[in-house]
């Protein structure tokens, strides 16, 4: 069964390659664009829900605005008139709301809508997966129709990055997300409304004439669901679609064909190898340093991502600006790695594998079987480790298996779900309060890493109001993470997209993307403000 799957995949790739070559031979042009203002995009999967209380940062941003939104320079105010302000100890955040905004059903946006949305997420009866993100939030109060005050149980400098929740009209909020009408009939203040949902095929979005930022130039967005990547590539080439998200290698291949152009956006979306300290090998800091030195990150970026990524050594990525510490990084130095392992007592045995006290340096590494980037990364890592005399067995798993085994098995971790503040990017992955395995929270600190200095810096930065001091805390954090690494952080991805005929629109903005992405991101992120 597995073999047939592999052969099928191979054949499919062969067809795709043939197709691309065939098209090179016949450079006929794509169907002419009559300057119409319809944008046709191919999405990877059908949406299950459009309810903004279930997830942030996605297609919901076309229907809903949030208090704070992602912009080219990080977060910027959207339904707020300016960035939220806090009291001195960062436990009370005040947001002033715009007074010129209406929902798509005609009702006027005000503070009650904001309160209703955040209270709904906190209410267990809503059953929202986002509730865990608002654990510090204890109160939401409308002090007047255009002012909302958020009260927290502890100081939290990163709170604005949690104000990206899409705000639905308050009369549509209530009940469980499972049967909320918002899943299928969004009512928000955003630039588009949903005009058609062809089950299993597509959705059609129509621009609002009365959008508070001005009616969008693109008046129709058609989003087709094409889950197979080869089919997506073919339909782009055939002119059915104007753009799609594709993996780096396929995007590279299509670049320049049939008027298609590749676009890349930076992301906070990183990958790393967890080194669970429940395994005897990884309790020793020197061993973890050795594994980091023995990993050829740049080769992985070039090979697996076709160059569309950046080698990193900690979860704080270059897109964090002044909080990023370029000096805190591991070079590729297998010789030093080998001598560190020798010093630590892991010496090469007769079989070429290191061992200490009769224990062979051999461990399993899990990756999600459907994720090719993670698979390739696991293979490359295993091969680097083999050069050091360490045996890595690859283990393709599904999500339930990963959750169950993660406490005692190394894992190719994905990160960067909210990459607009170093706190949301790193706290859960590194703080010792998440070190104990919790089946309800298996992916937080999966290495069971515990370092008092790291804890102190993370907590200090979380309660620090001054941006410069905060950035300095995070730079110091990275130095400590290189001295005592929790895992092997390998690279941060750039997300790759392919599109045609975008020259006529401006501005095409490049924003930092989170882990979750799709056609709501890419060069179309700000489609509503194209002119």
């Amino acid at each position: 069964m597995k073999d047939t799957m592999r052969i099928s995949k191979l054949l499919a790739t062969a067809v795709a390659v043939l197709t691309v070559t065939a098209c090179q031979a016949s450079p006929s042009s794509s169907p002419s664009q009559d300057g119409s203002t319809t944008l046709r995009l191919a999405e990877t999967n059908e949406y299950e829900t459009l309810n903004p209380l279930e997830y942030t940062f996605s297609i919901t941003s076309k229907f809903y605005d949030s208090l704070v939104a992602v912009g080219t320079d990080g977060l910027e105010p959207q339904l707020a008139t300016e960035m939220p302000t806090s009291n001195a100890d960062l436990t009370e955040w005040t947001v002033t709301l715009r007074d010129d905004v209406t929902f798509s059903d005609g009702s006027v946006f005000d503070a009650d809508d904001v309160v209703a949305a955040y209270e709904a997420v906190l209410d267990p009866a809503t059953e929202s997966p986002l509730r865990g993100d608002y654990e510090l939030l204890t109160g939401i109060t409308a002090t007047d129709p255009h002012t909302v005050v958020f009260t927290l149980s502890a100081p939290y400098a990163a709170f604005p990055s949690r104000l990206t929740l899409g705000i639905p009209a308050s009369e549509k909020v209530g009940g469980s997300i499972l049967d909320s009408s918002l899943a299928r009939e969004p009512v928000g203040t955003g630039p588009y409304t949903l005009t058609e949902w062809k089950q299993g095929e597509s959705i059609t979005l129509t621009a609002r004439d009365d959008y508070w930022q001005g009616a969008p130039l693109i008046d129709t967005i058609y989003i087709g669901f094409v889950s197979d990547e080869n089919a997506r590539a073919q339909r782009l080439l055939s002119g059915d679609f104007d753009g799609a998200q594709l993996s780096p290698l396929v995007a590279e291949e299509l670049d320049g064909q049939q008027g298609l152009e590749m676009f890349t956006n930076p992301a906070g979306d990183y990958r790393g190898i967890t080194l669970p300290q429940s395994l005897p090998f990884f309790t020793d800091t020197n061993v973890r340093v050795a594994l980091n030195l023995g990993t050829d990150r740049q080769a992985m970026v070039d090979g697996i991502l076709a160059g569309h990524g950046t080698a990193i050594s900690t979860p704080i990525t270059p897109s964090f600006g002044d909080a990023y510490n370029a000096d805190a990084s591991f070079g590729y130095d297998p010789e030093q790695a080998a001598s560190l392992l020798d010093e630590a007592g892991w010496t090469i045995g007769d079989d070429g594998i290191r061992a200490k006290d009769d224990l062979r340096f051999s461990f399993d590494l899990m990756y999600f079987s459907e994720d090719t980037v993670r698979r390739d990364l696991a293979q490359a890592f295993a091969s680097d480790m083999a050069k050091l005399g360490i045996e890595v067995h690859l283990l393709a798993v599904d999500r339930p298996q990963a959750k169950e085994k993660i406490a005692n098995t190394a894992f190719v971790l994905g990160g960067g779900d909210v990459p607009y503040d170093p706190d949301t990017q790193a706290y859960g992955d590194l703080h010792s309060s998440f070190a104990a395995y919790d089946p309800d929270d298996p992916y937080s600190n999966p290495s069971q890493y515990s370092n008092a200095t790291v804890d102190e810096l993370l907590d200090q930065a979380r309660g620090e109001a001054d941006t410069e001091t905060r950035d300095a805390d995070y730079r110091e954090l990275q130095t400590e993470l290189v001295a005592d690494p929790p895992m092997v952080t390998v690279f941060v991805l750039e997300h790759t997209y392919v599109a045609r005929n975008l020259d006529q629109y401006s501005p095409i903005e490049h924003v930092v993307e989170p882990h979750e992405h799709g056609v709501a991101w890419g060069p179309w992120w700000n489609v509503a403000s194209w002119r």
Partner: protein
């Protein structure tokens, strides 16, 4: 079931025409009577299997977000997706079916009835068109091959059909797109209408050619090979020989005497093969963004969405079973030698 029942001896259908019709009516009633308990038992099995599968409903519900949902949110979702034990879920579900309410789909976030009414017509349309197209291509091929059973045409056809039989349906789909949509630019490559264009009948027909073609290609081998065999066997019949001796032109012999007889066993097999047509359509739907039930079935299974899984699998099973009945009825109508009471 039908494959064995076609082997009937010389038992004559000497019963009168009216008697025969009522016997066929009885056959249908009998079979339909079986259909309901069979479907009920099958649905119980589907629920039990779904329960046994290692699928984690919470992880499935969250999909790629699973890795990023922290404790509070996960507890919420677990509470949302928690279900009754499978047999209680089944009792509740079957009770709902009997009272006309097939329940609410967790994975599609809408009533099961809405999912089915939006998607079932597309699957049925694709299947029927694909099968009809398969027959339209297979019949002339098989007739050509049957004229010289050991000739070159027959041998080449044999090889080609075995190769086609070995190719997975989704690859057939991708190849058709590569050739007809990309290479020749003759046909659209997916969906039911051109993105951004109004959905018209012409649009639909154009969009159906490739997916129906992909389904048809998947059915070509067994139709062609079975039909060729049946054609060869039938051409030895005394009636056919007599017709030839009478000097009836060969094309007329083929069309009037050989083909109808040869179609009988092939039609009988078609009913039994419907499950395969459905399975092929599910994959083809994926490639061509065809809005049928296939994707729903996969999603429902992965999400342990019992109500949707139950209804969709029952429907697909019912199509296959009704197909079996229809092929037996066709057999009884076409072949006077069969006795409907024995089917």
């Amino acid at each position: 079931m039908s494959a064995t029942s076609i082997v009937v001896g010389g038992r004559s259908g000497r019963t009168g025409r009216r008697g025969r019709a009522s016997a066929i009516g009885w056959l249908v009633v009998r079979r339909l009577g079986w259909l309901i308990p069979l479907l009920a038992a099958l649905s119980l099995l589907v629920f039990a299997l779904a329960e046994l599968s290692p699928v984690d409903a919470t992880a499935a519900f969250l999909g790629s977000r699973d890795e990023f949902v922290s404790a509070g949110g996960r507890a919420n979702v677990e509470q949302a997706v928690t279900q009754l034990p499978w047999w209680q879920a089944w009792l509740q579900w079957i009770g709902g079916i009997l009272t006309g309410d097939p329940g609410y789909s967790m994975s599609a976030r809408m009533p099961v009835a809405d999912v089915v009414s939006a998607r079932l017509p597309w699957t049925v349309l694709l299947m029927i068109t694909g099968l009809a197209l398969g027959f339209a291509i297979s019949i002339p091929l098989a007739m050509m091959a049957a004229r010289r059973p050991h000739g070159l045409v027959s041998q080449v056809l044999d090889r080609v059909m075995w190769v086609i039989a070995a190719v997975p349906p989704f690859l057939v789909g991708l190849t058709l797109v590569a050739v007809f949509a990309l290479g020749l630019r003759l046909l659209p490559s997916g969906g039911t209408s051109t993105p951004g264009m109004p959905a018209t009948a012409t649009e639909l027909v154009r969009h159906m050619v490739l997916p129906a073609g992909a389904v048809a290609v998947g059915q070509l081998p067994w139709i062609t090979l079975h039909l060729r065999k049946a054609l060869i066997e039938t051409s030895g019949d005394p009636g056919v020989r007599a017709a030839r001796l009478r000097g009836v032109p060969e094309w007329r012999v083929l069309g009037r005497h050989i083909l109808p007889g040869a179609m009988i066993p092939v039609l009988a097999i078609t009913g039994a093969r419907l499950t395969e047509v459905i399975a092929g359509s599910v994959l083809v739907e994926q490639i061509f963004s065809w809005p049928g039930l296939g994707q729903s079935l996969v999603n429902a299974a992965l999400a342990q969405d019992f109500p949707l899984l139950g209804v969709v699998s029952m429907l697909l099973a019912a199509i296959a079973l009704v197909g079996g009945i229809m092929s037996d009825v066709a057999l009884a109508l076409l072949d006077p030698r069969t006795d409907p009471r024995e089917l």
